[in-house]
Each structure stands twice: as C-alpha cells, then as structure tokens.
C-alpha cells in the first residue's frame, strides 16, 4: 500500500477506511490511465498508418458492426457498474457509524472548529481521540455550510446549519492529522484548520483523567496567594494571557488593534464602546466581566452577536486574570504578530 500512496501523492492512511479506498482509487486511476493513453496511442497510430499520401484520395465507406460496438460499450458499462458496486458498499460503511462509538459533538463556526466531549469537556481546533476505537462526530454549524475534512482518514462531511449530520472514523495509528474546512465559508476559509490528536490507549486514559486541568491551576494559585492576597499584578496578567490563549478568545479578538470577528482588545480598557442604537458604555472591569458571562447584553456596534457565553467555563479568577491582561494592552501593547485580513469587522455584515 505505501508505494501506491507514494505514487499518487496520497496522505498516510490512518483510518480503517483508508486501505479500501486507496486500493479502489488505484484501480480506477490505472484503468483511466490505461484507457486514455490507449485511445491516444491508437489515434496516433492511425494518424501515422493512414496519413494522407495523395491530396484527394477517396476512402472506403466503412460502417461499424453493431455487435462490435455493443460488446465494447457493454464491457465498459460492466466495468463502471463494478466500480459503482464496490464504491457504494464502502460509502454505506462510511455513512453508518457503529453503535459503540465514542460520541463527540462538533460545532463549526465561522473559521473555527469546536469540540465538546461526553464529560462536558470542551476544546477548540483540537480533537483528541483514542486509537483503535470508533469515534462518532455529531456535527452542526452555527452560521454557514462548512465541511469537516480529514485527508488522512479519507472522510469528509458537509456540516449544514440547522441540522445534525454524522461522520465517524476509527483511527489506526497514533499521531496528529490535519482537519481542513472543504466548503467555502467566507474570508478565512483557508484558515479554518484544526488537528486530530490520536493518542495511544494509555495516553488517552491519562488525558481523560486530568479533569479540566486549566481551571484547577488558576484556583490553586489563588489559594496559594492567601485567598484574598493580591497576586503580583504582572503575574496575573501573564496568567490571563495563558487563559485567553487556551480558551481561544484570541481566535476572535485580536491584540494588535485590528478588528476581526470580535472587537480588538488593544486599547479597549476604559475606552468608550459604541453599542447598538448609538448608546455607549465605558469598557471597565464590570463591562468586560459582564461581556464574558453574558455577551448578548451590550454588543459592540458593527459586530455580529455571535460570542458564546463563558458562564460556568471561566472561573472567577480566570475572568479577573483576563481583565488584567486586557489592561496591559492599554499602553502600547504588542506589535501585530499575525497579519489578519484588513476587512474591517470581517464577520460584521454591513
């Protein structure tokens, strides 16, 4: 199998579907290559063999024999039907997830993938699955049609808003594989990347046992600092930056002054935020915390109300750390590390 994958530039086969599909792929492509080059050579051969010698040579009136025609075409049709039968059997297998599969909820959103596992654990752009066990993805989209595509597993399924679609796979070798969005979904369609981390059985158990590691860490620091004691301010800001990164706030909010899906955090603290119906509000700690817990309360004008609530996900110390981090972005802040599209309010609909 590996030389077929090398010859045809196929990605490594990391799921139970891969071998079957690659073999059928090789069969169909070789028939194609043979058919096309055969036709071309016969044409070139006739070109040479029957080239025009005298300018106006008459030629015999030849009629095809019906039998010859029907046999050739019948055999080709038979070949195509065989391809279809094998292909459809594999397709039914791809479309029917086994009952005992691990359940993962996938939500596609303009330009990110969100995964939530059975034990209320959530992650963004990273799907962690065990090797050797079937995983069933129940997917829906928050806005437009996306398409969950993992080349290494040979699976793809359009994620349609307004309904659930399912896809499943069973990884065969540990490693991390790319997830692409295959259906055009807007300006950052090509940035909607994610990875599948396939863990060996032991690592997966270990991953399962570490319950929600991030929140525990923040709470311990807080207690260690004597409960009410003030953590050193810069350490809290650094803590806020880590939490913001882990919770993927930075997927929507930039820190370099460029608006993206959400308003930028640079220079946000204490700024006057324009709301719908030309009201305004000062972006103080209360507003920032409230916007984290209940984002729909006062939406920044010009941005779509798509921010999810972090109620019950961000603990109090984490929220405080993020506010602290946003404060540090007031004075100067950091040069734009990533060149985001300049389309102001990319997600905003004008």
């Amino acid at each position: 199998m590996t030389w077929i994958r090398w010859l045809l530039f196929l990605p490594p086969g990391a799921s139970t579907f891969a071998d079957g599909i690659d073999l059928l792929h090789f069969a169909v492509i070789s028939v194609t290559m043979v058919g096309a080059t055969g036709v071309a050579f016969v044409a070139l051969w006739y070109l040479m063999r029957y080239r025009r010698r005298a300018p106006l040579a008459p030629t015999a009136l030849l009629q095809a024999s019906l039998l010859g025609e029907v046999t050739i075409i019948g055999s080709i049709l038979g070949l195509f039907v065989i391809f279809w039968v094998i292909g459809f059997v594999q397709y039914v297998d791809i479309e029917s997830p086994p009952a005992d599969a691990i359940e993962v909820q996938v939500t596609a959103k303009q330009w990110m993938w969100k995964f939530s596992y059975a034990d209320e654990r959530r992650s963004i752009n990273v799907l962690t699955v065990p090797v050797g066990r079937p995983v069933r993805l129940t997917m829906t989209s928050r806005d437009v049609i996306h398409s969950f595509f993992v080349p290494a597993f040979r699976i793809k399924q359009d994620v349609v808003p307004g309904r659930y679609v399912t896809a499943w796979f069973q990884a065969t070798s540990p490693g991390s594989y790319d997830i692409y969005c295959a259906e055009y979904c807007g300006i950052s369609h090509s940035r909607m990347l994610a990875t599948v981390n396939v863990l060996a059985a032991a690592d997966y158990e270990q991953w399962l046992s570490t319950r929600n590691d991030t929140s525990l860490l923040a709470a311990e620091d807080f207690e260690r600092a004597g409960g009410t004691g003030e953590l050193d301010r810069s350490d809290l800001a650094e803590q806020g930056r880590a939490v913001a990164a882990r919770r993927e706030c930075l997927a929507c909010h930039t820190i370099d002054g460029q608006p993206h899906v959400g308003p930028t955090w640079r220079g946000l603290f204490d700024a006057t935020v324009p709301l719908e119906g030309n009201l305004t509000v000062i972006a103080d700690e209360a507003y920032l915390t409230r916007s984290m817990m209940d984002p729909m309360a006062d939406v920044h004008r010009g941005f779509r109300p798509v921010m999810p609530t972090y109620q019950g996900i961000l603990t109090a110390p984490e929220a405080a750390a993020i506010v602290e981090y946003i404060k540090t972005l007031r004075a100067g802040g950091i040069e734009p590390s990533v060149q985001l599209p300049t389309d102001a309010g990319a997600g905003a609909r004008d």
Binding site: S116, R122, G162, R163, Y164, R247, P308
Partner: protein, 106 residues
C-alpha cells in the same frame, strides 16, 4: 393550422363548463374530511383541468407531433426534479431537526 382537426366554438363552451364544474368539485372537496388524500386528490383534479386547457384551448390536438412532444418532455423534467429531490428528503436518516441556534454554549 391543420385543416382536418379543427376545434370549434361548441367544444370550447363544453370545455369551459367542465372546467367550472371541476373547480367547484375541488372547492367542495376542500371542506370534506378526506385526511391525507386531500393533496393528491386536489392535484389530480388540477391535472385534469390543465390537460383540458392545453388540449382544447391551446389547440394542442391540432398541432404537429413535435409540439406535443415538447409538453411531454417538460413534464418529464418536472417529475424527475421532484422525484429525486423528494427521495432525498424522505430517506434522510437523522431527522432534520434544527438545534436551537439561539442557545449559547461555546
């Protein structure tokens, strides 16, 4: 037009009366308790009315074969589109329920 198969005024009047009668029938049926049959029944009555209009009023009967063939092909297109699209919606496994988009959650 072809001379031999002419449509004349009397047949038009009969067709008109038939159309009115069929309309009244489908109007009456709409009040009757026919349950699941109501849509196919109403549509078949409409189909009869449409063939009446096409054959007599549009003089399809007096025109050459190719004009009639065009009508048949167009109806074939319509039914293909309907059949294969309905087949998809009816045989979809997971029910197309719409998750509450307004619900939050990250």
């Amino acid at each position: 037009m072809h001379e031999h198969r002419r449509v004349n005024r009397r047949s038009f009047f009969l067709v008109f009366v038939a159309l009115i009668a069929l309309a009244a029938l489908s109007y009456g049926l709409s009040f009757a308790r026919v349950g699941a049959l109501s849509v196919p029944l109403a549509l078949s009555i409409s189909a009869i009315k449409v063939t009446l209009v096409a054959v007599f009023f549009m003089e399809l009967v007096a025109q050459r074969f190719v004009n009639r063939f065009v009508v048949v092909v167009a109806m074939g297109m319509l039914s293909t589109l309907l059949a294969l699209m309905a087949a998809d919606v009816l045989t979809r496994g997971t029910p197309p329920l719409a998750p509450p988009l307004s619900a939050g959650g990250p």
